[in-house]
Symmetry: C2
Subunit: 414 residues, 2 copies
């Protein structure tokens, strides 16, 4: 089936789903969770075919690990779907409302976006997460996963569609788009009018190609060149704790720190300890001359280092002469994801939060907190680094649009 | 100067403007209003050159009227700018906030989008309106008006920039983009990373070309193929009043009615009177056979008629057998702008408002009310007919993005 045909079927399904009650949607989510658990043997078997093929194709162990599903992992995915059933339904929420001077009643309600396309890489749990979030928010979804997960995704989507049909909801609300050629991504990008929004999740090159080629509106996600700025007025202990957490607690994620900026006045007290601790944690540091003065094992940083999202045990570092130099550096190299200042000065904190243009700005906290789960959204479809529609962690409300409902009793305009 | 250079200068201006207080921005708005009034002789003189050139080039009287500025019109534009100063500042508004279980404080604040590009047609008042709204919301603006208004817009932008500079704000927050070639629109559309959003205002073909070609995110505005559906349970008097108002009160606007749907059970009571009243008001009706049965002067409607936004004293019309047929017709031909039902049945009203997918759905009220001014927004940059970011009339909040500010005291993630 062509993507066009799939998108048309999704639109039909979306118009039904938009009218489904919370009760109907939550029942379907529970049915999905039950079916995932009940059918986990066949899901795991399908996944093993993908893992075997991936190993043969020379995928790294890290990628194979992200690809792998076990009975426990399927159970965890099912649990996440049950948790979505517990979240409030964003659809129908009245976000503004008033009675106009002429008596007209105006309400602005949340409504589903319609059809959402998601283009993503290896991890098959995204298939279920995304489908669950789209279902809960009343949207149909077209899932364009990775060809390396094709058997897993086919098995999962079959389970999802079966559970929807069992609960009387349209199976076409969840469809897998053929991952075997790049052409299907292109078709998704050109399905303007049928697909309401495209969310690419994955590496920077995937996101860039979707963002520049798509005529369907896009929500850009996930590139995080995040900075920790240690201010002149920072407590070195606190700064060290935050730096290590942001850099090393999990390196492969977009909210991990990738660059360290230290105010010149804090460098003597902070940098020797920080560099030693980073070395001990196995982190390679790429620093400017002022950083390297403290530790000759620090490698010289290039322009490219400052622009790099390592997603690994590496970090770039520089000494800056002022908070303004720090924010200028962040404006130049940052990706607008999450930026942190460590300081005891309220004035510095205020200046930093006002001047830094990013989805999230943190004061005395690790960048790792910028996450839908941590923010209490219950679930997350991704982290937007663009300014339009949604910025930062996207939960259920970000998967909705709005509609004005205006009620009168024969009102005419004069 | 190239558009690229202008956009770079706008970004610098935007970073200053983002930090301007409401007091500073409002003072600049008043300075703009004062300067517009003080310098209205030169503005009107510049406009007369445009009008003379337009007349020579054979522009219609309607277009020439939209182009023309008089001292009174300039005064009205200045008054609108003063009114913007009275509106609340959207920047800094906290729209969500909580303290997480771990004690982290999370606030989601409104921040400016950054640099906004506006591509529009003849009316020079848009130049001032758009600049005022962007200034109030802390955004820099690149104005790409029509070549037919080049002298007017040059004079207006000079006044705006002078007033900004007088109040210590960056003049480059308001810049006119060369209207003499289409290439400058193309450059705006390719200025991804420098321009945060592009808002095309004008005819359907302009909007379509921007929407399909732009790599800068776009907010689609203004196409309104709006329907009035007269339900079986409609009061014919009320329906007639609403129909005439929506069709004839002002025909050239996107929230005017362009199509009439009448339930078969209401046709006998309603259509003869409605068709007579429309004829009397000078409206040409294009109807299906069931409409034409009531009045032989009704022209036969083609597929194209139902898809047409006439913006004139013309309307398409059809008889439908059910509310479901009405909503199906609207789903097929509507542009997602404003759709009205006239009914005395709460059930029909509820079904219509739930099923019709549009920026605004009205019950027993004229579509002409769908307007930022009528909704009490104080001002409007356009009416979005897309679902992402903003839908319906866009006021100041729609010209903002958000930023999460997260405050801890050494919080790390475990």
């Amino acid at each position: 089936m062509t993507v066009q045909k799939q998108a048309e079927a999704a639109r039909v399904a979306a118009s039904t789903l938009a009218l489904a009650t919370r009760g109907e949607k939550d029942a379907a989510l529970h049915a999905i969770a039950d079916a995932l658990v009940a059918r986990s043997p066949e899901i795991v078997a399908a996944n093993q075919r993908d893992v075997a093929a991936g190993r043969e194709a020379g995928l790294t162990e890290a990628v194979l690990d992200r690809l792998a599903l076990t009975t426990d992992r399927v159970a965890a995915v099912a649990e996440a779907v049950r948790a979505m059933a517990g979240l409030p339904d964003p659809v129908g929420e009245v976000i503004r409302g008033s009675t106009l001077p002429n008596g007209l009643q105006v309400r602005q309600l949340r409504v589903p976006l319609g059809v959402i396309g998601i283009v993503y890489e290896a991890r098959p749990n995204v298939t279920v997460d995304a489908a669950g979030l789209c279902l809960k928010s009343g949207n149909a979804v077209l899932l364009r996963g990775s060809s390396s997960a094709v058997h897993s995704n086919t098995a999962l989507v079959e389970v999802l569609r079966g559970a929807l049909a069992d609960r009387g909801l349209p199976a076409d609300a969840v469809q897998l788009v053929d991952p075997s050629s790049h052409d299907t991504v292109k078709q998704l990008m050109r399905a303007r009018g049928l697909v309401d929004v495209l969310i690419p999740r994955g590496g920077a090159s995937l996101i860039q190609s979707v963002v520049t080629e798509s005529t369907v509106p896009v929500i850009e996600t996930g590139t995080g060149n995040c900075h920790i700025y240690v201010d002149a007025a920072a407590d070195p202990d606190l700064a060290l704790r935050i730096l290590l957490n942001a850099k090393t607690q999990r390196t492969s994620v977009c909210n991990a720190a990738e660059s360290l900026l230290v105010h010149a006045d804090a460098a003597d007290a902070f940098l020797p300890r920080a560099l030693a601790a980073l070395r001990e944690a196995g982190v390679t540091v790429h620093g400017d001359d002022r950083v390297r003065r403290y530790d000759e094992s620090v490698r010289p940083a290039t322009e490219e280092d400052y622009a790099t999202e390592y997603l690994a045990l590496e970090i770039s570092a520089a000494v800056v002469d002022s908070l303004a130099d720090a924010t200028a550096h962040i404006a130049r190299y940052g990706s607008g994801h999450s930026e942190a200042i460590v300081t005891d000065s309220t004035r510095a904190a205020q200046q930093f939060t006002a001047q830094v243009d990013a989805a999230a700005v943190l004061v005395n906290a690790s960048t790792r907190f910028v996450d839908g789960g941590e923010f209490g959204f219950g679930a997350e479809i991704g982290i937007s680094t663009q300014k339009l529609h949604a910025r930062g962690p996207m939960g259920l409300p970000e998967l909705t649009s709005t509609k004005y409902v205006v009620t009168g009793d024969g009102h005419t305009r004069s």
